[in-house]
């Protein structure tokens, strides 16, 4: 699994952070909205389900999950 992020769409709602804190963090910026940061580019199998949920429930379609 690979995670792709479109930061132009991120408003820092933090749904991903509550879903999979091992994989996503949300960082305050000096300017504008907080932005998601991916902590694990290739998350292990046991986190896949929660990463999928993070992508699905992101209100702004920021996260795309690419299957291997």
């Amino acid at each position: 699994m690979k995670i792709k992020i479109d930061l132009a769409l991120c408003q820092g709602h933090s749904v991903c952070l509550s879903e999979a804190p091992e994989v996503f963090d949300v960082i305050d910026q000096d300017d504008g909205y907080p932005q998601v940061r991916v902590l694990l580019e290739n998350p292990p199998q046991e986190l896949h389900e929660r990463v999928m949920k993070a992508a699905k429930y992101c209100p702004n379609n920021v996260i795309t999950v690419l299957e291997d």
Binding site: A8, L9, Q11, G12, H13, S14, V15, L17, S18, D30, D31, G32, Y33, P34, Y57, P59, N60, N61
Partner: protein, 448 residues
Amino acid sequence: MIQNVVASVKLPPKVSGEKQGSGHMEEFGVNFARFMMRCNAECGELAEFNMGGQQTVLMSGPEAQEAFFKTLDLKLSRAAAYQATVPVFGKGVIFDAPPDKMKAQLKIQVDALRYQNMKNYSTVISQEVEDWVASWGDEGELDFLDEFLRLTLHTATHCLLGKDFRDRMTEEFRELYHALEKGLQAIAFVDPYMQQPVFEARDKALVRLQALIGGIIAERRASSHIEYGDALETFMAGTYTDGSQLTENEITGLVIATMFAGHHTSSGTATWTLTELARQKEYSAEVSEELQALFKSASEITLESLREIPKLEAFIEEVLRLHPPLVLLMRRVIEDIDYNGTLIEAGKTVAISIYGSHRNTDYFPDPEKFDPYRPKPDTLFAYIPFGGGPHKCAGNAFAMMQMKAIFAALLPRYEFELVDPDETYQDDLSAIVLKPTGPCRLRYTKRT
């Protein structure tokens, strides 16, 4: 895509029917969504019309709409296009704030929509729905345009200003809010400061509302140990980049701005959703079955359980396609731009029509047909009920959660039917925010 202009000669084609002095203002005022569909049909992707002296270029189709959404604020300004909101939200708030402060305020607004608050809001909304239906009895008839305006005013004030304020909500507050609403009508987008009784009433209402909400802020600052879990708490805790807090009037302004963003949009969508449920019997039976299986009692309505209700979601999405609450969006052109070889000059306004985009037959064949199962377009910029790009409506998750919470509580218990002839339930396209023409009477019957 939009680029800086080097040498451009082509200008956007002009729409016919312009009148001396007022331009297309009259036709625009009667039914601006239909007018914009005419512009697009006549001129194509770019169509220039005259709104009382303001040259406005309508951008149509996913490519032009993507350019509209993705062009930087520096070139296509929201602030300059939405100056009518300044006397409603107050000085120094959002579109009247310097760019860095505006960004900080919008960020603080999103902070109030994050996970922990959202959990509280879902509880608040289902409580409000319970209180609302408590007096319904087994059957009856209501004007749901009115009912949903009241329900969503209650949910909005409860989520924003907390339980105490909601419980003490006075007739005065309703009247003040209503006076501000009337201050944001179409003529305000031409000049919000002209001598008009509605604008005088608006200004008085803002001063009084600043005093009312300022009072709550002062009260809360004096008892800082209490946790509220509402948006006001988040707004009061928010800071600018230099660490300073928002002033009382700025906080009040954010409260008003958030109410305006969420109230009529939500009530219009709820009214249309219930009306379509009463009208589209085949689909509504499926939605009701889904909800009856998922929600046996009101206590099962939580942020988690509301996330996955596929049939209801598809139904609401189709409602938002046919009846998008915001029919058009605007920006002011700050720097000349070149859209695929056509010059759009600084000083003009650019607009997109969400209503028109959702009826584009390339993406939505047989567009007036209600079909929750129609295929999704392969672009993010054809179906745009919440806009798109970096400035997409930050309340979109809240709005969907609220809609689902309302119908998860209502549909397992009641069935709904149209009272008046089907064709009398129509879009009211004279207002800024779309809703059905009132009254919107529906009959409800308790399920056995």
